[in-house]
């Protein structure tokens, strides 16, 4: 093993420990956006890379938004809709679920780790649920690692 490669190995491990996933969350205006307001604040301290985009209903989320997020550097995405039967625009949440399920398989087909895209039922300010949900998403995206840079050849090797 050359000194050079040894340094590279070290660099890689350092990279892994320091790296934190960047997650974009699409939250419905009615339920979850208030949920994030009321969440037990201290528990979210370690999840520092979640950006929130507000939508009126999870049904509004166009798969193209998600592609754009990946393009703009997101490592993972969470779309959260209201529980079945409690969608203000019922069945907007079902449309979202169906659409995203198909989109997820398409992502996988394209070689993108399915752990990067999450759809979840979550209801109004369930203080206990929301941090758990985020923890789960963040840990799965962490396992999936940084989003591969599809534009440069260099990263294709790794």
């Amino acid at each position: 093993m050359t000194i050079h490669s040894h340094a590279m190995v070290k660099n890689e491990t350092e990279h892994k420990t320091d790296w934190q996933p960047k997650v974009v969350a699409f939250l419905c205006n009615w339920r979850l956006f208030t949920g994030t307001d009321l969440t037990d604040k201290s528990r979210l301290l370690h999840v520092s890379h979640v950006e929130i985009i507000r939508v009126p209903c999870s049904g509004r989320v166009d798969p193209l938004f998600l592609l754009k997020c990946f393009e703009k550097g997101a490592d993972g995405i969470l779309v959260a809709g209201c529980y079945p039967g409690s969608c203000r625009y019922s069945p907007g949440n079902h449309h979202a679920q169906g659409k995203l399920a198909i989109f997820r398989t398409l992502l996988e087909f394209c070689g993108i780790d399915a752990r990067r895209l999450h759809f979840s039922w979550a209801s109004s300010s369930e203080g206990t649920q929301w941090p758990k949900l985020l923890d789960n998403v963040v840990s799965q995206v962490t396992e999936a690692g940084p989003f591969p840079d599809l534009y440069s050849r260099k990263d294709k090797r790794s």
Binding site: T36, L45, E51, I53, P56, G59, R60, C69, H95
Partner: protein, 656 residues
């Protein structure tokens, strides 16, 4: 080029502690399109709002970003200010930095706020002025739960001249208050107060009562809800029943009587208590033999009026209402949760509610205190407070608020009824903050000679036929051991079982302990996050009768305030279709659950050529945007959440 103003609030000091506000302002000023960036200590104050109004005028702003608290708290405030500055309210966006940023992420809060501000600035560039939509209001209210809070709210609204639909899950109205013996601090007869209210409900022409009923589904929004209510089968025809009570005598089933907190037994066909409203029996199908694959039908045979209808089915009724008050009350923690206190194991270890029944004139012993095991009058009674409450190891970190005072009341009742007896109270902390409550507890200690011991009880056990309570007196740092004839556990108040399902149906929030959440803990304690739905009583948090009644009154006045406003106006984004390029696939028509999208034929392709396109009825559109996401040809735009707005936000995420 846009002319955007950015306003950053300090929120007193709660944001400045975490975020370099000045740094954010400097950064915001460099963003393209921003002509003015300022900070203020309290933007929501009169002076702060004036600053917004004046800046809009002075700099001819066409977009405003307010970085402050959550939109659920002050978005309306700021949008009203924008309107005063003659800016369409929808051209104002909020960057929620208090909750989702400064209070959450200490390590890189300033960077995060910069991100939020950048996203909001990019988004607001694409905001379009929206017009107000007029919404008529159905001036009828739905009250869920008919305990003291629900009944008071219903009576207040009904007396205000509006119709009320009162829905109660149980077979009778009355709630917990009717189970109590006397109420603190006035020592009034509790059932007397409650039964008069119950009679008033029946008398009041504006109240439509559904007992033994539950909310099935709720649709709609503030001013226009449609509630579907499941009327559970009572199995007794209320019109035919003559109240003879034969059925109850013949019924072979014996199960725990809920009204007496499990101290006595009741048949499967029963009237919950003599003063019940309605006072007709109901068959509890969960324990009735007929519904457990056994043939019985004894009640049907003996009923002289032929009122028993075992084939009766649940009925679903639909009610149109404009506002809802939720008053679903509470449950008590099961005494079995504390195995070390022998709850559920020793018959003489009872809950406070059972004590209340034992000492109540309407109770199983007609108010004479006799212990359950051998009917003896107890000589030594140990009250244990905070059974569950403030005990994180049992998952309950909160204080149940009323136990300190009702335990003092029970001490007085005990000493009045059995002057020979001795009362011991184990307490963790005396919390008697209500009006006259501290004096009340002092009276129990001084005049009624209760022995108060500060400390938790470690165990209750049986020695030579008598209960022994072991605990620590933490004031003198000694172990104490008391022989007791009766042990009374002040078990914690908990949210009612199944309230989460109801909250989901209503689209309202609940907290870690399943108590329903108010819209804002200080400023909007009666409202919920779903407009038009209000809270009353213990379903929100433990409180005493006076507070429950006060909150019920507040909820009622909120409801009437809503009804008094002639029409609701709402700024609402609706979907728009570009008919020129719509290819008429009608996917949006299928996606729309409000039938707001219809097929339309155009003849714009020359003579004899029809073209099918979708067309949106703006009045019906509710602005969910499902159609916009469905559209294959990208011809649908949702005002307020347009593609441009969302893409602008995504592009400004700043992840790379």
């Amino acid at each position: 080029m846009s002319r955007i103003g950015v306003f950053v609030c300090w929120c007193g000091s709660s944001i400045t502690e975490m975020v370099e506000v000045r740094e954010v302002v400097r950064y915001a000023a460099t963003l393209p399109g921003v002509v003015k960036a300022v900070d203020h200590q309290y933007l929501c104050s009169g002076a702060g709002q004036k600053l917004i109004v004046e800046t809009i005028r002075e700099h001819h702003l066409d977009g405003v970003v307010v970085a402050a608290c959550s939109p659920s708290v002050h978005e309306t405030t700021f949008r009203k200010a924008a309107a005063r500055g003659e800016l369409n309210p929808c051209l104002l966006e909020m960057a929620n930095m208090q909750e989702i940023c400064s209070l959450v992420q200490r390590d890189r809060a300033t960077d995060k706020v910069k991100n939020l501000v950048r996203m909001a600035v990019e988004r607001v560039k694409w905001n379009r002025p929206l017009n107000q939509i007029k919404i008529p209001i159905t001036k009828r209210a739905l009250v869920i739960g008919a305990g003291i809070a629900g009944i008071r709210a219903a009576l207040d609204i009904a007396d205000g001249g509006y119709e009320v639909v009162l829905v109660e899950k149980g077979p009778s109205i009355g709630g917990h208050v009717v189970q109590l013996a006397e109420i603190f601090p006035t020592m009034e007869c509790s059932p007397c107060i409650m039964t008069s209210y119950m009679a008033e409900v029946v008398e009041n022409k504006n109240i439509k009562l559904y007992t033994y009923s539950e909310l099935e589904t709720l649709e709609g929004y503030a001013g226009n809800f449609t509630a579907r209510i499941r009327k559970k089968a009572r199995s007794v025809d209320m019109n035919k029943c003559v109240d003879c009570g034969m059925c109850m005598q013949k019924c072979p089933v014996s199960i725990k009587n809920e009204f007496n907190a499990g101290l006595t037994l009741r048949p499967a066909i029963y009237v919950p208590f003599p003063q019940a409203v309605p006072d007709k029996p109901v068959i509890d199908r969960e324990s009735c033999l007929q519904f457990q694959e056994t043939e019985c039908g004894l009640c049907q045979e003996v009923c002289p009026a032929g009122a028993i209808d075992l084939q009766q089915e649940d009925e679903i009724v639909s009610e149109e209402v404009g506002a809802i008050v939720v008053a679903t009350g509470y449950d008590l923690m099961a005494k079995e949760m504390y195995g070390e206190y022998g709850g559920g194991h020793y018959p003489d270890v009872i809950t406070s509610l059972q004590f209340e029944r034992l000492i109540s004139a309407s109770g199983p012993t007609h108010g004479e205190l006799r212990r359950p095991s051998d009917n003896r009058v107890p000589k030594s009674v140990v009250f244990i407070q905070c059974v569950g409450s403030m005990d994180a190891s049992h998952g309950i970190s909160y204080c149940s608020k009323v136990c300190c005072v009702y335990t003092a009341k029970q001490v007085m009742l005990l000493r009045n009824r059995c002057p020979e007896s001795k009362a011991y109270v184990f307490y963790v902390d005396i919390r008697a903050a209500g009006k006259g409550y501290n004096e009340f507890v002092r009276k129990a200690i001084e005049k009624y000679e209760a022995i108060y011991i500060r400390g938790r009880v470690s165990s209750v056990s049986l020695h030579n036929g008598s209960l022994v309570v072991r605990g620590a007196d933490t004031l003198i740092e000694e172990q104490v051991e008391i022989k007791a004839d009766l042990v009374v556990l002040a078990t914690a108040i908990t949210a009612p079982r199944g309230v989460e399902t109801l909250a989901r149906k209503l689209g309202i929030a609940y907290d870690l302990h399943s108590f329903l959440s108010e819209a804002h803990p200080r400023l909007r304690p009666v409202e919920t996050n779903n407009a038009g739905i209000y809270l009353a009583g213990v379903c929100q948090s433990p409180k005493d009768i006076a507070e429950s009644v006060a909150q019920a009154g507040a909820a009622a006045s909120k409801v009437m305030g809503l009804f008094r406003s002639r029409d609701l106006f709402q700024e609402r984004g609706v979907a728009r279709i570009n008919e020129n390029t719509c290819d008429g696939c009608l996917l949006c028509h299928e996606a729309c659950s409000f039938s707001a999208i219809e097929m339309k034929c155009l003849e714009d392709q020359g003579e004899d050529r029809m073209r099918v396109v979708s067309s949106i009825d703006k009045k019906k559109c509710r602005g969910c945007g499902t159609c916009a996401a469905m559209c294959r040809s990208n011809n649908i735009e949702l005002d307020g959440f347009s593609d441009q707005q969302i893409y602008a936000q995504i592009n400004a995420l700043g992840l790379r």
